[in-house]
């Protein structure tokens, strides 16, 4: 069993597991931090950006892709754990010869589609006049200024996929539900479990009859909108692959939400605008819910909230229809009947308005001060670029970063100098190290495998020994482009016996509680399933030609010799020999047993734990006599 690690990003994992003749890809996250190396894509021609000297507006966005560690066409299935971890799917399913199936839950697929749609839309609506790729040449890259020249593996950066590729990739997905058991070629069974992190997010169990591998990706134990995490089913794992822990282990999400609300209220009260760069799904639902409870108490009822994204409408609507994937509290609302999320009420009362882009209706409705939720959190493309340009000059305005995926300082770099206030309240509800240690104590896997970042404290806080995984035996760590041999051996395989065959068995008790029976059967193996079938009957002596021909295929069934069991007590054996007229018997002890020497007959009987040899000089009669004597001491069946 091997694990191929294709991504070094702990929260955007991509691993391939080879297990019992299947090749399973676990997630395909897309690390988009390389976009930070590019200039923002403005919706409106920005004189400031276009007048920058030197390397301006040269290329589209590109993304880091996988290394050539494994031939992607050999991947049988891809298991997706949440919508953030499937953003690289088109790169894998298209143009690599991939012919397998992708498994994901329905909300994951729908919201994943929204995220991809938004991404493609953001990139495609600002087409490039020209494109350059010469800079990818290592010799030229070396000449670039500092952060750019240090970027690694630039050659693997790719252009953003198209909507066509997205559709094609998504068509390869098969929908699954929590706890549904999916057979892969009869060899293994995979099961998604609720992970509590996002709508439809799952952890996966990959098991055969005798082995169990758990794959834990982005999970949360906090009470937010999704169904709570299923921990019990992770018990008794041989290997637990642990990825997707919180990216901000020192920040407590509750405190951050408080901070978010307070700063938002303060800014708006002073007549400033608030900009929240965010993804169109996920934490935004929780933020809107908090604001729903908060705005009246904070006197913000008259402040408009705008949600601008090509997929804003679908995201808000989708969240309301996936009731079965929500936490219990929200599920019960559906029976009242009420929409599970309170943002429906915000929309009804006109407090929250959503627009596909800032062109069109938004321009006429727009009034300040206001709060705007829009993408992309990298600040490199999407409507957020426009708002940064628009509001950046006033110190009354505030930009509040809630998504932890990008460094906010780097994201802000191309907008400097900036007068607006910047607040960093990363809200990451995924497991923190305290929760992980509790989880591991409860689930008790034999081995834990995790990205190497989790096995040491963060570099900036090297004294925080609490910010790492602490388990026994120590977790095995992996890094990008590493192949890990997972530390357990397969020992058993399950074989079924056909009922007729089982009927014909006659077990014999050889020790109290242990019965044995010999089986003669044909082993039939198909689709990784093994079945013992009754042997064909011996061929009829009289039969037509056809029959005779048919019986040619049947393997020969030899007459079975009985099997022996038991051990030979040497002293009694010697007595028995003497009784039968052998004299001058000598017994020698050896490491493995005894040697009985019949000096007169020049014969040697070697008695060992699992074999007995009679060595005599061409005297078959003697050998048979001795053999019969030996057999008397053994049980036959």
């Amino acid at each position: 069993m091997k694990l191929y690690c294709l991504s070094g990003h702990p929260t955007l994992p991509c691993n391939v597991l080879k297990f019992k003749s299947t090749t399973i890809m676990l997630d395909c996250g897309l690390d988009m931090t390389s976009t930070l190396n590019f200039l923002p894509l403005p919706l409106v021609q920005s004189p400031r950006l276009s007048n920058l000297p030197g390397w301006s507006l040269k290329d589209g966005n590109a993304f880091l892709d996988k290394t050539e560690l494994i031939d992607l066409s050999t991947v049988d299935v891809i298991l997706i754990s949440n919508y953030h971890c499937m953003m690289a799917l088109p790169y894998i399913t298209e143009h690599t010869g991939f012919t397998g199936t992708v498994y994901a839950t329905e909300p994951t697929v729908q919201i994943g589609r929204l995220l991809m749609e938004e991404l493609v839309n953001f990139i495609e609506r600002v087409p490039k006049a020209q494109s350059a790729s010469l800079w990818k040449n290592k010799d030229i890259q070396r000449l670039l200024p500092s952060p750019l020249k240090d970027a690694v593996e630039v050659s693997t950066w790719r252009r953003c996929y198209t909507m066509q590729e997205v559709n094609s990739a998504l068509s390869k997905i098969q929908l699954v539900g929590y706890s549904q058991k999916i057979e892969l070629f009869g060899a293994v069974q995979v099961t998604p479990l609720s992970s509590g992190y996002a709508l439809g997010s799952s952890n996966w169990i990959i098991q055969s009859h005798y082995e169990k591998v758990s794959y834990v990706s982005g999970s949360s134990l906090l009470t937010t909108h999704p169904q709570p995490m299923d921990q019990a089913s992770l018990k008794n794992s041989d290997v637990l692959v642990l990825t997707g822990l919180t990216q901000i282990p020192t920040a407590n999400p509750d405190g951050m939400v408080g901070e978010f609300c307070s700063n938002l209220a303060l800014t708006v009260r002073n007549g400033g605008n608030v900009l929240v760069p965010c993804y169109p799904s996920g934490v935004i639902y929780d933020l809107l819910e908090c604001l729903y409870q908060y705005i009246d108490s904070a006197g913000l009822s008259n402040i408009p909230f705008y949600f601008i994204s090509p997929v804003a409408n679908s995201s808000l609507e989708f969240s309301q229809i996936f009731a079965e994937w929500l936490c219990h509290n929200k599920q019960t609302k559906v029976y009242l009947p009420e929409p599970p999320f309170p943002h429906a009420e915000l929309i009804q009362t006109n407090k929250l308005k959503h627009y596909p882009s800032l062109h069109g209706d938004f321009s006429s409705d727009f009034r300040q001060p206001c709060v705007v939720f829009t993408g992309h959190p990298s600040l490199r493309f999407g409507d957020v670029v426009h708002f940064m340009e628009l509001w950046g000059k006033s110190s009354l305005n505030t930009v509040i970063f809630t998504e932890p995926d990008f460094s906010y300082l780097e994201a802000l770099a191309p907008y400097q100098p900036l007068a607006m206030k910047c607040i960093y309240c990363p809200i990451d509800t995924r497991l923190n190290f305290i929760q992980v240690s509790k989880l591991l104590k409860e689930v008790q896997p034999l081995h834990v495998v995790c990205p190497e970042q989790y096995t040491q404290p963060p570099p900036a806080q090297s004294h925080r020994m609490d910010l790492m995984i602490d388990c026994q035996p120590p977790a095995m760590s992996y890094r990008r482009a590493e192949v890990l041999a997972l530390p357990f051996k397969r020992r058993y395989e399950k074989i079924e016996i056909m009922p007729e065959l089982a009927d014909s068995l006659v077990p014999m008790e050889i020790k109290p509680g242990i019965s044995l029976a010999t089986v003669s059967a044909v082993l039939h193996t198909k689709d990784n399933k093994h079945v013992l079938q009754p042997p064909p009957r011996p061929a009829q002596p009289a039969g037509g030609k056809k029959r005779k021909r048919g019986s040619d295929d049947i393997p020969d069934c030899k007459v079975l010799k009985p099997l022996l069991s038991g051990s030979i007590p040497v002293e009694q054996f010697v007595q028995a020999l003497e009784k039968h007229g052998f004299s001058d018997i000598k017994v020698e002890d050896t490491a493995k047993g005894h040697i009985v020497l019949l000096q007169e007959a020049e014969t040697l009987i070697q008695i060992e734990e699992d074999s007995t040899h009679i060595i005599c000089d061409n005297d078959e009669m003697l050998r048979v006599r001795l053999r019969d004597l030996v057999l008397k001491f053994l049980q036959k069946f």
Binding site: S262, L266, R269, G299, H463, R464, D466
Partner: protein
Amino acid sequence: MDPECSQLLPALCAVLADPRQPVADDTCLEKLLDWFKTIADAGSSLLLLQENPCLVTLLCPVLKPQDLSPRVLAFLLRLAGILAAQEDCFQHLQQGDLLPRLFGEAGPLGGAAWTAPTVRSGWIQGLCSLTQHPSALCFLAHSGAVDTIFSLQGDSSLFVASAAGQLLVHILGLSMQAPAEGHPSLQPAHWPACAQKIVGHIEESLRATATPQVTQALNVLTTMFSHCHDPWTQVLWVHLSPLVACLLEKDPVPAAHSLVDLLLSVARSPVLSSSSCGLWDTLAQTLSRLRASQAGPLALGILKLQECPKALRAQAFAVLLQPLTCVLEATTQAPGLPGSVGGTADAPLTAGMLLPSKAACVGLLCQTLAHLELLQPLPQRPSPWPWAPLLSAAVTILRLCNGSATPTSDTGTHLCAFLAGCVRVQRAALDFLGTLSQGTGPQELVTQVFAILLEYLTSPDSSPTVLKKAFQATLQWLQSSPKPSGGGDLEPHAQLFLRELLPVLPKRLCSPCWDVRDSGLEFLTQTVRRWGGQAGFRHALLASEVPELTEQLLRDPESYVRASAVAAMGQLSSRGLHIIPASPGHPGAQQSLLEELLHILSTDSEGFPRRAVMQVFTQWLRDSHADVAADTEHFVARVLRVASQDLDWEVRAQGLELALVFLEQTLGQPSSSCPYAMTPPAAAPPSLVAQALQPFCRVQLFDFAFRALFDCDRPVAQKSCDLLLFLRAKTASYSDQQGSSSGPDVASLEAALQRWQAGDQGQPLGDLEPEAVVAVLRSLDLEGLRGALAESSDHAEQSPLSLLQDMLATAGILGENEADCY
């Protein structure tokens, strides 16, 4: 016993003795016992029995305990004990052979009823009341009860077990008093047999290997040494101390907590404080033998002792400080800094104690901090008190908790992992830091204190309770910072801090957590009260958004926050820090704060904000706030009108307080405010009084006060009574001169008051004349009313007669029901 009760008693006894009659509840039986106890204490129990033979009859069914419910059986045992406490009555009951049957082998002891803990408890309490005279001791000796008590020490019911221990102490004390009042024998071997038996049992238990037995013995001794200070106890201690010392040899020391309690009670006993007993050595040895978490309470106890050898105190203090020393050493570059806490010899040991588990570490640190917090204000605290190292330890712990400390050793790294984000330790450390503000520390440490407090107040990760503690500690530190010599109220240092804090406060006032907004407002109220007059502070506050936000919080959805906002606004306004925003877009701009508060008082659905408004108004009236002083009468009239309608009694009571302030301001201070004043209260000249009463009539103060006098809530009525008494004293001379007036006005007023008293408070009194009021004040029996109100509200229902009636009624009603069934 009054005759009515005597008449009812036989019936009640019959009910109690009848197993078919269920007894109402335990409280009735408790009250009944209390009543018998008062009767027995007041007179002769023998007489009581002779006059009420039904009582003896009642005690008899105990002979067939299976018929009785456990609670009645327990009641009877306790009643017998109370009666037999007097020797003659004891003899009387003995003659009837009743006592052995109740308390001896023939009684419930060992029967089925004994399985009920109530019965066992009743048995012990009965014996405890009974054991008051030598005859009782003989009885105990003969009945073999003492052995039963021994076994009850290990009872499954904690109440029974603890009562058994106390009973043993009681018996021992009595038996030692009995033989001779003179000097006790130096050898327990010469003590009375009963005492010897008990002491022997204790010795045996102390030698036992099972911890529960040792604990029992130690608990008995602890009770004895803390309640009995006769000379013989010293003899006993000298006799037993070697056994106690033996306990210290064991590893681990058994029953450590009980041992600590015992040693401390011995050390506190006035007869034993001499050093001849070797107590100090034992204490010192115990300190060094116990684990850190067990030694802490002992060390604190030793340090609280009035007299104690210096060396022992030093050792105890070192033990107490050990965990903090360990924390400091784990985080400082060079171990053993001159400023570090206490000695360092034991630190590695404590490091071992701190580190095994998070729970142990957190528990020990919280305990240590709480102990030091208790010790610091005591006069006998160690001197010099190590302000600086304690400060730096508290700051270090807080830094470990928020992850900003840099550990210098493995211990430190572990501590950091244990304490990061631990709310319990944060709270304890902030509390402790707050108390440390009483002392003085080096300037650089004070800077660190303010820095860490600011970190906690700013951090989004501080939990609401931690934040509250941080605000409290901050206030304490600000209050204690020394005034600068050059004038001004705040030390420049603290002033700078406040300036840094003010930008944080708005964020807290906007928090989605109501408790954070609440503690932020409380902090604001306190700081404004203290530094509202200081120019630098005023300037910074006015430049911030705080006053505006505070006003917005008057409309907060949470009532506690509204209440705190009311208090804060009241304070801001008193200090002239409430500026009405001039912006035309502001809807509340035209409305003054007074109007807004009145609006809250009349419309808020919760009591807290309304109470807060009344407090602010009272304070404003006291301070002659500008808005109030403009037209005080009008103000008082409006407030009283609204307050009188309020459903919350505290609001009405506060309204009376406001009325009293108004009275005082008009008439002068009440004489009772200074009971030791030499000058007799000078009554005002009559003409002046009549004049003075006019405004009260105009603001309808009397209407409010009389209404309150018959308020269904006792505190309101009491307060009103006090107010009217004060008023009557003030107007005494006036009415004397006027003589009794009986005009039509007075008659109608009295009639109205009578209706009110009867519960019909619908009609207002209308306009009143001062003369009529004075006349009514004289005619009302205010003293009588005050006396009646001073009684607890259920005094009428508490009489023994009503108790008996109640119990009989309950039984009677049950009887009727039974009849209905047929």
